[in-house]
């Protein structure tokens, strides 16, 4: 991002010096421009896109078949101790050539294709993370906006509820709920997990709304008799969209890690469903015999969390460029 700023700066000055045109840009154009200049965020986008495309297209989703011919549940004979056949080192460098092979990520002890299993886990983990992101953002935004706008009793009650949820450790709250809804599918689990993770967003949004509600344009809207709902949704929330998007992204990254931790502790996703965290638990004891069963899901968790964190960082810089030298 520095290089961009440094190499971009003289160019701008040059343009100005030659009396060339100054380009007018809208707010969203500015944000987009800053975002795409953030190298980390761009790399994160690419990595995240690749993971999503790989996870969705390889084994397909629901009734739609994917390009990978094996199924995550079919057992079979274990070939070559179930070692991964994936090879990325070309032949002239002393490797086995670039190919996927029969079982690129190897097989587990009953011969299931581990690539298909990992993809299935990645799909579920991504699904859970997105649902958590949406639920947490919706609840957090509404709670924060109502508390910040109406103040008084509404604020006291809503913020005390937020405090109560904060007081319970996430692993405990989500774990208890995870056990209660066990066996009713990952979507319900994800929904409740989202209900455990909205407090941060609520606090941030409330803080923003508290300052925005004192602005002149809100006063103007109120004075012409605009309804509270319209003021909140048309005048205030659009101005907090930066904060909301950034925290939604970071919530998704946290959700991936929380879900996998819960599944690891046996409090989250359970068989027959699987997820990346679940895979790690299932094959935890295999680490010394078949370490690849342990590596792949972990690598995918890191890839997802890392890329989403980078995207979040880029978005934060894009919406709030005070701390960076990136020029508009």
């Amino acid at each position: 991002m520095t290089r961009n700023a440094e190499s971009g700066a003289p160019e701008n000055e040059l343009n100005a010096a030659h009396g060339m045109s100054v380009v007018a840009r809208s707010q969203s154009q500015l944000v987009r421009r800053r975002f795409f200049r953030h190298r980390g965020a761009l790399a994160g986008m690419v990595l995240f896109g690749l993971v999503v495309i790989l996870a969705v297209t390889s084994i397909g989703a629901g009734p739609i078949p994917g390009w990978w011919d094996k199924d995550p549940t079919t057992t079979g004979s274990v070939v070559g101790e179930g070692r991964p056949t994936l090879s990325v080192l070309p032949g002239f460098l002393g490797g086995g050539g670039v190919h996927l092979g029969e079982h690129p990520f190897g097989q587990d002890n009953v011969g299931r294709d581990y690539f298909a299993l990992t993809m299935r886990g990645a799909q579920v983990s991504l699904l859970i993370a997105v649902i958590v992101g949406v639920v947490a953002t919706l609840v957090g935004t509404v709670v924060g906006a109502l508390a910040g706008y109406f103040r008084g009793w509404t604020e006291s009650v809503l913020m005390r509820i937020t405090d109560v949820v904060i007081a319970v450790p996430t692993l405990l709250l989500a774990g208890l709920i995870g056990v209660i809804v066990a066996g009713r599918g990952v979507v319900l689990f994800a929904f409740f997990l989202g209900l455990c993770m909205w407090t941060q967003i609520a606090r941030l949004v409330r803080g923003e709304v508290l300052s925005l509600r004192e602005k002149e344009y809100v006063e103007a809207a109120r004075s012409v008799g605009t309804s509270a709902r319209r003021i909140i949704f048309k005048h205030i929330l659009p101005n907090t969209v930066g904060i909301i998007i950034v925290s939604a992204t970071l919530t998704i990254a946290t959700a991936v890690l929380t879900e996998s931790a819960l599944s690891f502790l046996n409090l989250g996703v359970r068989p027959p469903d699987t997820s990346l965290g679940r895979l790690i638990t299932d094959y935890r004891t295999a680490l010394s015999v078949r370490p690849w069963l342990f590596y792949w899901p972990g690598a995918f968790i890191i890839a997802i969390a890392l890329s989403v964190n980078f995207i979040g960082d880029g978005l934060r810089d894009a919406f709030d460029p005070r701390q960076t030298r990136v020029r508009d």
């Binding site: 005390r160 904060i166 007081a167 319970v168 450790p169 209660i180 890690l257 680490l287 342990f294 964190n309």
Partner: protein, 503 residues
């Protein structure tokens, strides 16, 4: 301020009460506590079910059970679990273990995280800063249980194997020296030449050090020896004086150096006392160190320099004490290593069962068991401290009063320590307080991975058996910590930043 604290306390108590209600209700719903009793043959079934119901109060409505529990808690009794064991007793042991696990890790993470964040902010947009940022992001995204298991499998086993024949391969020497050299080179401000010099000399020094350590098999029987102790004490004196006031003032520097000297002499004189001391002796010596070095600073500092001489002297004293302590511990390493079969880094539990040794050896036993979980915990929590410190520092560094400080000719050290650090660390204190609160609840994962029977075991026992009592005991501590530290954070923030309490 008192009104502010009283109001905050009142709110916290109600919030905590409300959250106990939530957790209690949820934990009565997780599982049927009579499930296994129902499986019993006809004759025994009724009796077993009746006994468990009686013990857990299953015949009462949930609300009654909650108030019974609350009434007991107020008198300090946490009830009995499904087997009839006292939960209070279990909690005591579990809490000690968890405290032991998280204390060192938290302190380390805070100190290292803030230091790295400050450095990274001071060298904004350098290669060092970019590397730190990237590493922080990776650490953010690590699944704790995955890293922990990997550390257990590879770091511990490989390290223990390596200790059997502690020679460092040339490749390793080169790698470590290069990393250290690069870090030193990027820390230096100046032109290309001085940076290259720093890089070159640091790399060479590190390489020589490693080669010597490897050739003398130092790692098999480590120790520092009086010369290294003396050198580090003097180095500490110079470093802390620079940090506190700068080397240009004589009295503080003299005080720190005298303290270092006393420390080194004490290390030699105290030899027999430190052979196998009691814990109380060590604590007493630590307090004595603070007192003596404080006195040295007070008297040598004189009227004019007291304010800087005392902290410089105390810091030096404590540092020298820590070096002596480390030296003693390292010296008993060979004996300890032998007594545990040459595998000092342990992967399971909090201590070697039935182990007894000198003060230093049992200390090493704890360190060996704490090493891996601490490393894992530090790796994960380091990142957020680094990022927040960096952001907060950068925000302060752009303030007008910092520019004023520079403009009126203050030294860079004064600007950084007096103007930037003091204000930049205010938001960090709150963050640290919030974080400490959540650590007890979050350590559950670490405990599970490293097989510690601590707070997490209470939680899992409760969840497994559908028994609210252990879960509530866990929550009283974990949730209580969150509520208390959130309150502390708010109060400290109001104390440090008057704008909050006056608005």
């Amino acid at each position: 301020m008192l009104v502010f604290i009283a109001r905050r306390l009142f709110v916290s108590i109600w919030v905590f009460l409300a959250s106990t209600v939530v957790v209690f209700f949820l934990s009565t719903r997780i599982r049927d506590p009579l499930a296994d009793a129902r499986q019993l043959p006809d004759g025994a079934r009724e009796a077993a079910m009746a006994e468990i119901s009686e013990r857990m109060g299953l015949d009462d409505p949930v609300l009654v059970r909650y108030f019974n529990w609350l009434a007991d808690v107020v008198t300090g009794d946490l009830g009995v679990d499904r087997q009839g064991q006292s939960v209070s007793a279990a909690l005591e042991g579990a809490f000690t273990a968890t405290l032991q696990l998280i204390t060192g890790a938290t302190v380390l993470a805070i100190v290292i995280g803030i230091a790295v964040g400050v450095i990274s902010a001071l060298r904004q947009y350098t290669a060092l800063d970019q590397t730190v940022t990237f590493v922080a992001f990776v650490c953010f995204s690590l699944p704790m249980f995955w890293v922990g298991t990997l550390l257990k499998q590879f770091l511990a086993l490989d390290f223990n194997d390596w200790l059997a024949d502690p020679t460092i391969s040339p490749l390793f020497v080169g790698g470590i020296s290069l990393i250290v050299g690069l870090a030193c080179g990027s820390l230096v401000v100046g032109d290309r030449r001085s940076r290259l010099t720093a890089f070159g000399s640091a790399t060479a020094a590190m390489a020589v050090l490693l080669l010597v350590l490897s050739a003398t098999e130092w790692f098999a029987d480590p120790g520092l020896g009086p010369i290294v102790i003396a050198l580090s004490a003097v180095g500490g004196a110079l470093g802390f004086t620079t940090l506190v006031t700068g080397l240009e003032w004589q009295p503080p520097l003299k005080a720190a150096l005298v303290t270092a000297g006393i420390g080194v002499v004490a290390a030699l004189a105290l030899g027999p006392v430190l052979e196998d001391p009691e814990l109380l002796t060590v604590v007493g010596l630590a307090l004595l160190t603070v007192a003596i070095s404080g006195a040295v600073g007070w008297f040598l500092g004189g009227e004019l320099y007291r304010r800087t001489a005392v902290p410089a002297s105390i810091l030096t004293g404590v540092f020298t004490g820590a070096v002596i302590f480390t030296d003693r511990m390292l010296q008993s390493f060979a004996d300890y290593s032998e007594s545990v079969g040459g595998r000092p880094i342990s992967t399971i539990g909090a201590e070697t069962p039935n182990y007894s040794g000198t003060f230093w050896e049992s200390g090493l036993d704890s360190v060996g068991h704490l090493a891996l979980p601490t490393l894992a915990l530090v790796l994960i929590s380091l990142a957020s401290y680094t990022r927040y410190t960096r952001a907060s520092m950068l925000e302060v560094m752009n303030q007008d009063y910092v520019r004023t400080g520079r403009a009126k000719g203050l030294s860079e050290r004064a600007v950084v320590t007096r103007h930037v650090l003091r204000n930049g660390l205010i938001p960090i204190t709150t963050l640290v307080a919030y974080d400490i609160g959540t650590i007890v609840g979050g350590a559950v994962l670490t405990e599970e991975v490293f097989g510690w029977s601590a707070m997490g075991s209470l939680l899992f026992q409760g969840i497994e058996q559908g028994d609210p009592m252990p879960i509530m005991a866990f929550f009283l501590v974990a949730g209580g910590a969150i509520v208390v530290f959130n309150m502390v954070a708010d109060i400290v923030y109001a104390f440090l930043d008057p704008r909050i309490r006056l608005s």
